[in-house]
Symmetry: C2
Subunit: 404 residues, 2 copies
């Protein structure tokens, strides 16, 4: 694929939205041979957080694709799952494939010939945005566990500041998948009228106990690793074992048993691929998980993982549905969301965000007055289907966006 | 509940079935206040194992309920899942409740007024039978990882020796649940004509990749615990963290998301129950898992866990369905099983042993000429339903056994 024809048409000057907001393209990757499409947006300072903390000098890393229309009415914001960066797709500045390469681009389901697409690295993550792995300006030390308690409402509010900072009053569409879908619901309920349409993918209006149990166990595996040291690991003493278990458990719950029967069955590794250890990896499915873990453990910061994982457990849109603590419910909260149309997609084989949770979102938005398309896909890939079953997801998204 | 009226009517003299087989009631629990209903059966010595190893002086711990009929035609053998002991239910010698207390006893679904019930602790386990936690007579040391490679075929063969040793040519019924269901299929295919009827519960004809992935991760958690030390832990340096993760992951996959929504929802612990740690247990579901782990980690030997878990991954009835390695398939193997009737039960919410696997067993046994009842239950408790949904399981089992 050649260089991407669409480059952001934004300049620093046009984006400045006030004295506390500026955007700076700081080189983050030291390797000059690596191109980097990220820009940075400075959040309001202090940035006040839901559970009482605040951040000074915090920023979001983001990328854009396509061109913002003169009426500023063609912007789509993508809110991501727990681990992706802002690099959704290749662009002129960074031709490397993004995590949703087949979905976003000219002529693709999210067509950047038409839409101006924005994606930020989540607040609290480690792909350029401020999070536990960044320096705390108050101490000059890495935040680690001194980072304030993070919620998906904070993720939503920081993303909303970015959108406003880019001069956009109202999104044409807010799209969120997985954890990003929960952040998107928070965004919509906290900022009424901030998006015309909404696409909600494989997400939930609140964390349910099965998902909490899985994530709690992932956090426990990291925290029990002696190298975690209450968050004070370094490159030489790194909680690799804990991160590996956490990632493998993630991958197991992101896919589906049905897919794996067809994909791995009981196929074993060749004997020369196997180690002497009597409990070494023997089946292909184990090797597949090991590969996933290997690629992940050093590329995502363990403390950031803990913060974002806990934020997912905490999320409950019901908190926004009542007049006092504990009085709300999911339906009442969804009823406060004001979008014209919504596309809600779920997958029958998703065990982490089961289909009834997407049905609940669809029904709630319908009750709020939105025109809702609810799409239940039978993709075999479980929760991860939106990343890999591009034919089915792409068709649904293209149709929804194309009907505007 | 008062003392159990049914005591085994067997004596050592009547049970001796040959020079290499004798049964000895050795006290295993040192606490004299604890009663113990276990008896021990000496396996043939050497006991030859599927993958080439052999055991010298190995034995099985077992218990019995009810009375063996003069014709020796009323015996039911229960093969267990990975962790249970032989103590299925209370009896005169051990009035403590067993792990299937509501299922086995006078007037219960497995009615000990009529049936003579036998249950052994699985070979390789740590509840009295020979396994990695026992002493290797060749060295005088604990076996640990010197225990030979264990398969469910070895579990089946050792159980078959016990049954023959008790003077029983043919079981009235062989019942296996979970891992024990796989052992039961091995038993039936290796010993044609050894059981008249068969009850197969929440099990599989072969391990599928999702279950392999879960168990592999459980083993990894134990092995990565620095206290595991290649199997050389002791009471003071014990792989508690690894066992805790393994057990929690087990419990998560034994139950169902649906059950937990109703049971735990998003209920939090009271603040006085919570620790200061920012990542401490917060939700009831986490506390529930912690309780399960606490009760398990010191009561089951980690090396035994590794051996039995790996044996489950290795199990594939298809190996018995062909004339040479790799030539068999599940259907051909099941066709070699010779029982008159079978009851096959599965649960729709079971993610570890999904329902299509029980359907496969039912169809295979039907093709083999058995009269098969296939029962798909909608119990919400997932894989563990057979332990807790006694009304549904009990009714199916009582009806099947009662129709003889």
């Amino acid at each position: 694929m050649g260089p991407h024809p669409n480059q952001p048409n934004l300049s620093a000057g046009r984006l400045g939205a006030g004295p506390s907001r500026r955007y700076i393209a700081r080189p983050a990757r030291p390797d000059p041979a690596m191109s980097d499409a990220r820009r940075w947006f400075d959040l309001s300072s202090p940035f006040r957080m839901k559970r009482g903390g605040e951040l000074v000098g915090a920023r979001l890393a983001y990328e854009t694709w396509g061109t913002l229309a003169p009426g500023r009415d063609n912007a789509i914001l993508i809110l991501t799952g727990l681990s992706p960066s802002a690099h959704v797709a290749s662009n002129g500045e960074d031709p490397s494939p993004g995590w949703w390469e087949e979905m976003v681009g000219p002529g693709k389901p999210i067509d950047t010939d038409r839409w101006f697409v924005i994606c930020a690295n989540t607040l609290g993550s480690c792909k350029g945005s401020t999070g536990p792995a960044e320096t705390n300006p108050a101490t000059g030390e890495t935040y680690r566990l001194d980072f304030p308690e993070l919620t998906l409402e904070d993720v939503a509010n920081s993303s909303h500041e970015l959108v406003r900072g880019l001069g956009i009053e109202r999104l044409a569409c807010l799209l969120g998948n997985s954890m990003g879908g929960m952040s998107a619901l928070a965004y919509l309920v906290l900022h009424p009228g901030s998006a015309r349409d909404h696409i909600s993918i494989s997400t939930a209006p609140q964390a349910q106990p099965f998902a909490i149990a899985i994530r709690s166990l992932q956090r426990e595996a990291i925290r029990l690793d002696p190298n975690w040291k209450q968050g004070h690991y370094d490159d030489d003493h790194y909680p690799e074992a804990g991160m590996s278990i956490a990632r493998k458990l993630g991958v197991i719950t992101y896919r589906s048993a049905m897919e794996w029967v067809g994909r791995f069955a009981r196929i074993r590794l060749d004997s020369e691929q196997r180690e002497e250890d009597p409990f070494a990896v023997e089946f292909q499915v184990e090797s597949y998980l090991a590969g996933h873990a290997r690629r992940f453990v050093r590329s995502f910061d363990p403390n950031c993982y803990l913060y974002l994982s806990r934020a997912s457990d905490w999320f409950d849109i019901a908190e926004h549905g009542g007049s006092g603590a504990g009085t709300g419910n999911v339906e009442a909260a969804l009823k406060r969301i004001d979008v014209e149309r919504a596309l809600v997609i779920g997958v029958e084989t998703d065990i982490l965000f089961p289909l009834p949770q997407q049905e609940q979102i669809a029904e709630g938005l319908r009750a709020a007055g939105a025109e809702v398309d609810f799409v239940a896909l039978d993709s075999p890939q479980g929760h991860d289907a939106f990343l890999v079953d591009i034919p089915r997801f792409g068709a649904a998204i293209a149709q929804f966006l194309g009907s505007r």
